[in-house]
């Protein structure tokens, strides 16, 4: 890893090097190095002896071949981080300029910054997107993947997060200085398998399993989910998978030929099959959808009708905690809800919703 760069390049040049605008080949014992339109030959020289314009190119090659992890998905991710797109060979000097100040990318709720350090190596900083402009001194400093696991476990109200890609990651922390292997472990701890699936998608090898196929596979308590009606599947995806609930971009549909209408999301990393939380929710909805509808009558003022909608919206949008104690103008305000309950739902003898007619019969519970 700490070989003299020119020596490492000489060794690789035997097979020919073409990388990010750097070419190197061996002519007998002589190393030929070319960048853009200049060429030089190197006999016994070290990196320091090379003409200045060649140095960043050689260091860049060394970083990607000697220092950074060689696993294709990881390398592609780190290159994406610093916007080193293959096929733009002349970009090294510009990229190095950008890396001097830092190149920033967003991955879910993570804000990653790559910077140049000694000898052409890179260091990475990681923080919450909401902390973009917060001075480092105001953030709690962390070091490695174990810390990430702890941060990711609970949201900022200390509730357990069952879905790692829910947009509920707490903020206020900083991983100021990570090496390439460390930043990959930390990202993988926050968002497991996202780098691997993102890479597969780029390579055109993402193995998507659509809902019907995933449901067929289920056994035991989850066998019933294959019976979820198509319409209900749309509602379920709308409930769980949109960007306000999950930052993965849903790539699965009902089947390959039956796309869902619900927006897939805009995130960089794909969701390749219904997750365990979705399947558990689908089980619940499958059994709820088994009930037939009935018609009820309820007496409400127009404002009370609006209020019921406001309450459903507030719960569905996770807004309940934001409604101020004394904001009596908000239908989902606690006092307003208590008032409505006292007025309309308080009497067990005469329930607010009166059944007027029974349409269909069958509603036996088929869940196992």
């Amino acid at each position: 890893m700490d070989r003299e760069p020119v020596e490492a390049l000489r060794e690789a040049a035997a097979a020919g090097v073409e990388y990010d605008g750097l070419s190197a080949s061996l002519d007998g014992e002589t190393l030929q190095v070319a960048v853009e339109d200049s060429t030089t030959t190197v006999d016994d020289r070290r990196l320091d002896d090379l003409p200045e314009p060649f140095v960043p190119y050689v260091r860049n090659w060394v970083y990607w071949h000697e220092t950074a992890p060689q696993r294709p998905a990881f390398r592609a991710f780190l290159r994406w981080l610093e916007r080193a797109n293959d096929g733009e060979p002349s970009a090294v000097p510009e990229r190095y300029d950008a890396l001097e100040t830092g190149v920033t990318r967003t991955w879910g709720q993570l804000l990653l910054t790559a910077r140049l350090s000694e000898g052409g190596r890179r260091r990475y900083e990681l923080r919450h997107v909401d902390d973009r402009d917060v001075p480092a001194g105001d953030l709690q400093v962390h070091g490695g993947p174990n810390d990430a696991e702890t941060i990711a476990r609970h949201d900022d109200r200390d509730r357990y997060r069952p879905l790692k890609t829910a947009p509920t990651l707490r903020s206020g922390w900083l991983f100021p200085d990570l090496g390439p292997d460390e930043v990959l472990s930390v990202v993988s701890e926050f968002y497991p398998a996202t780098i691997e699936n993102w890479f597969r998608e780029r390579e055109g090898t993402l193995d998507v399993t659509h809902y019907r196929e995933a449901a067929e596979r289920q056994t035991g308590r989850y066998r019933s989910v294959s019976e979820l009606p198509s319409e209900a599947l749309e509602w379920a995806a709308d409930a769980c998978c949109v960007d306000s609930q999950c930052l993965k971009r849903r790539e699965w549909d009902e089947t390959a030929d039956e796309p869902l209408d619900v927006p897939r999301g805009d995130g960089p990393f794909p969701c390749r099959e219904p997750c365990s939380l979705f399947v558990a929710a689908a089980k619940e909805w499958t059994s709820l959808e088994d009930e037939a509808t009935r018609t009820y009558e309820i007496e409400l003022t127009p404002s009370e009708r609006d209020q019921l909608e406001a309450i459903v919206d507030a719960v569905a949008d996770g807004r309940v905690d934001e409604i101020r104690e004394a904001d009596l103008g908000d239908g989902a305000n606690r006092y307003r809800a208590r008032y409505l309950r006292a007025k309309r739902f308080g009497d067990v003898e005469s329930p607010a919703f009166q059944e007027t007619d029974r349409t269909h019969g069958s509603e036996e519970d088929t869940s196992d």
Binding site: E196, R272, C275, S276
Partner: protein, 287 residues
């Protein structure tokens, strides 16, 4: 280049469920015995379906952090990890060692090991648990030990694993009495004091993680407390016996050694890591 994947249940509701998997993974990682140590979950992430692709090695030792052979280890895990040609371990319910298979999506060679709960070394973890809850490294003389599990209701093999370890520990003669007890069949954990003459009884639940059963059901059923939310004493006095209730055996640090031993039995080269895990000198940071 070989990797260890620890497969555990996890939970959508209980954050404690995956803690043992994470902690044992850290302990084993610290020994350096494997190039990669990865956790995988049925209810958390990375999911069983996606864990193998996060592991760079061609050769993977897959160890289920489960108590017994049965539905999860024989149906769910092989299916979700896409292990081609899986037909079972050819086991009597507690004798699974390993099966070597290929993963359909990644092409990796997967040595699918038997669950930690049925490994012989699990008997030592139960004893270690008794030592740690009593604070006595020589605990045994004048003391009874109860090993507690589900009954056969959910899984026939789960009861087998409990009986298996109770028999093995009894045969060593270290404790005055050893008894297997169950939650949903006779002999029942509710009647724990009926099964022991010793005043001091250590109760070790053969569960991987603390949760509803180990922290609510069992303490209330045994009469350690009226209401689990109020906690209980250790030891707690119940009908003239002192009950030393240990909580889930799976949280005992020594279990990491059983995980590594499962992989070693399947052919992994683990160097001196077993000794180090047994000695407990591999550091772990608690989440």
């Amino acid at each position: 280049m070989s990797a260890l994947v620890i497969a555990a249940h996890g939970s959508h509701l209980n954050p404690e469920s995956s803690r043992p998997a994470h902690e044992h993974a850290r302990r084993i990682r610290a020994t350096g015995a494997f190039d990669t140590v990865q956790t995988a979950f049925w209810k958390e992430e990375p999911h069983f379906r996606e864990a193998l692709r996060t592991v760079p090695s061609d050769e993977v030792y897959l160890v289920p952090l489960f108590i017994s052979e049965g539905y999860f280890t024989e149906q769910v895990i092989p299916r979700e990890f896409r292990l081609e040609g899986w037909t079972g371990w050819d086991s009597n319910g507690t004798s699974a060692v390993t099966a070597t298979l290929s993963a359909e999506d990644t092409g990796q060679t997967v040595h699918y090991c038997g669950p930690v709960g049925t490994h012989d070394a699990m008997s030592d973890v139960i004893v270690r648990r008794a030592e740690s809850v009593t604070g006595d490294p020589d605990v045994g003389d004048g003391v009874g030990l109860a090993v507690v599990g589900h009954g056969t209701e959910r899984n026939e093999n789960s009861a087998k694993a409990v009986t298996y370890h109770a028999d093995r520990i009894r045969a060593r003669g270290r404790f005055d009495e050893v008894q297997a007890l169950f939650m949903d069949e006779e002999p029942e954990v509710d009647d724990v004091t009926d099964y022991f003459t010793s005043t001091d009884v250590v109760v070790v639940p053969l569960f991987i993680a603390d949760g509803y059963h180990t922290q609510e059901d069992i303490p209330e059923d045994m009469g350690l407390t009226e209401d689990y939310r109020e906690g209980w004493e250790t030891p707690a006095t119940v009908e003239g016996h002192r009950i030393w209730y240990a909580g889930a055996v799976g949280t005992e640090p020594l279990l990491a050694e059983v995980v590594a031993e499962r992989a070693a039995d399947a052919g992994a080269t683990v160097g001196d890591s077993l000794d180090r895990l047994r000695a407990g000198d591999a550091p772990v940071r608690s989440a």
